[in-house]
């Protein structure tokens, strides 16, 4: 069981090949920390705010970092083939990662079953017509029928999975973990603060903050509250480890700092923790506004200012990491 589904799946697949890494380490090596604001794409009726990169990217990056060969397949129009190839891989005793929608996922807790299509699971065995699933969100091994699995692999809506599946084909003998860590930190820092345009990283946060200030005038109250709520849902979605992955990244920086004996990284971990605490404050205040329990000094403006403040904290931290000699 793990916090983040793609980390969890990656970890499970790696473990099958004898590579054991902590979830924080996988998340960090995969440069999983992220922030994007895409007001022109809607998910469940609100603008997309995401704390993680596109599905599949962490897996791809970590495999590159560790020199692992993988195969990713999609079957946009052929569900039967998608299931047949899965069966073949299981027959060869290869665990397979795949992307599914959670709305029709039978064992998933009902309150979380919205139309959300970026969930990752590992299918590792089949008996009769029942598949065994290791779902990173669940504590136990789950099962799912052929029809249900086919159904969730072809969920519709935003980010359709289209039967996407992936598995490891070859594991490298010598892994240079230290070098991979250094590269991954630089990559994350670059995305979070030096990516062109304003849809990713600290500038995206300030863009969102500016928009939040406008919501109250631009939309009716119901819609404005829905938009605000959807940010927090993405931030605290099951699997972030809290604060939109900020605590998980802090854990990675700590582990990396100890491993590389680098005090700057350990200190960066502490700063990241403080930033995470501020994200939690953001969620707390947003919930109070939504529930109409806000104090006099909590409103759309103050919450937007808090987000702006967080954006500058993250900018400072990642600029430092970008310059750091590792």
């Amino acid at each position: 069981m793990s916090a983040h589904c793609e980390n969890g799946v990656t970890g499970n697949l790696l473990k099958h090949y004898g590579i054991e890494l902590s979830e924080a380490m996988i998340f960090g090596l995969g440069s999983g920390l992220f922030f994007t604001y895409l007001p022109f794409i809607k998910l469940n009726g609100a603008s997309v705010v995401s704390f993680r990169p596109l599905p599949g990217l962490i897996f791809k990056r970590i495999n590159k970092a560790l020199g692992i060969k993988t195969k990713t397949l999609r079957f946009p129009r052929n569900p039967e083939k998608a299931m047949k190839i899965l069966d073949e891989k299981l027959h060869e005793n290869i665990p397979v990662g795949m992307v599914v929608g959670v709305f029709n996922l039978p064992y998933f807790p009902a309150p979380y079953r919205f139309h959300f299509n970026a969930h990752n699971i590992v299918v590792f065995a089949k008996n009769d017509n029942i598949y065994k699933v290791s779902d990173p969100i669940m504590e136990e091994i789950e099962t799912i029928s052929y029809d249900d699995l086919k159904n969730v692999r072809y969920a519709k809506g935003t980010y359709k999975p289209k039967g996407k599946m992936y598995y490891i084909t070859k594991v490298s003998e010598n892994i240079n973990l230290e070098l991979s860590i250094k590269k991954a930190i630089k990559k994350t820092a670059k995305y979070m603060t030096a990516y062109p345009g304003q849809i990713i990283g600290d500038r995206a946060m300030r863009w969102l903050a500016n928009d939040i200030k406008k919501w109250q005038k631009k939309y009716d109250e119901k819609k404005a509250l829905k938009y605000l709520g959807s940010i927090v849902r993405m931030q605290e979605e099951i699997g972030t480890g809290g604060a939109g992955f900020r605590f998980m990244y802090a854990a990675f920086l700590q582990e990396a700092g100890n491993l590389l004996k680098n005090n700057d990284l350990v200190n960066a971990s502490k700063e990241m923790t403080e930033i995470g605490d501020k994200w939690r404050l953001f969620a707390t205040q947003a919930a109070r506004i939504i529930k109409n329990r806000a104090n006099d000094n909590e409103n759309y403006n103050t919450i937007a200012n808090l987000l702006t403040d967080i954006s500058y904290n993250e900018k400072e931290l990642f600029s430092k990491l970008l310059k750091l000699k590792l």
Binding site: E139, G241, F247, A286
Partner: protein, 138 residues
């Protein structure tokens, strides 16, 4: 966040099926993973999202009972869909679905067309769709 600050606010959002992992600092300042049953701000927001869904469902029941919309309208909201998503699941175009939402058009739909809705809404028989016994589903 410190280990002792990891919230345990249970609103049955996980239905006892699992717990969430939170990353927190132990007393020596080392990160560790702690299981949590929930956090109040998040419970509030998730509940709010369901309140909206339930409002839409109640509204849909009234419209169907008043003969303003066909039962498809109720099942669409029951499945948290809009016309666009329903169109993707059924393969009907948006314009066609809008017609199917009219009670007098719905009345004359062929079984073949209704089957596509059955599959999308996980219903067993055409009567589930036609006889609007919504109490079975809420």
């Amino acid at each position: 966040m410190k280990v002792q600050e990891v919230p345990q606010d249970d609103a049955n959002m996980l239905e006892g099926k699992t717990k969430e992992i939170q990353f927190a600092l132990d007393k020596n300042g080392n990160y560790t993973e702690v299981k949590s049953v929930g956090w109040e701000p998040k419970n509030i927001i998730l509940q709010e999202a369901w309140n909206e869904v339930n409002e839409n469902i109640t509204n849909a029941i009234n419209l169907v009972e008043n003969g303003e919309k066909s039962p498809i309208y109720f099942f669409m909201h029951k499945n948290i869909m809009d016309i666009k998503l329903l169109s993707q699941y059924t393969g009907f175009c948006v314009f066609t679905i809008k017609r199917h939402l009219k009670p007098n058009v719905f009345k004359n739909l062929s079984d073949k067309k209704l089957e596509k809705y059955l599959k999308t809404f996980n219903l067993n028989s055409i009567n589930d769709l036609k006889l609007f016994d919504y109490k079975k589903y809420i």
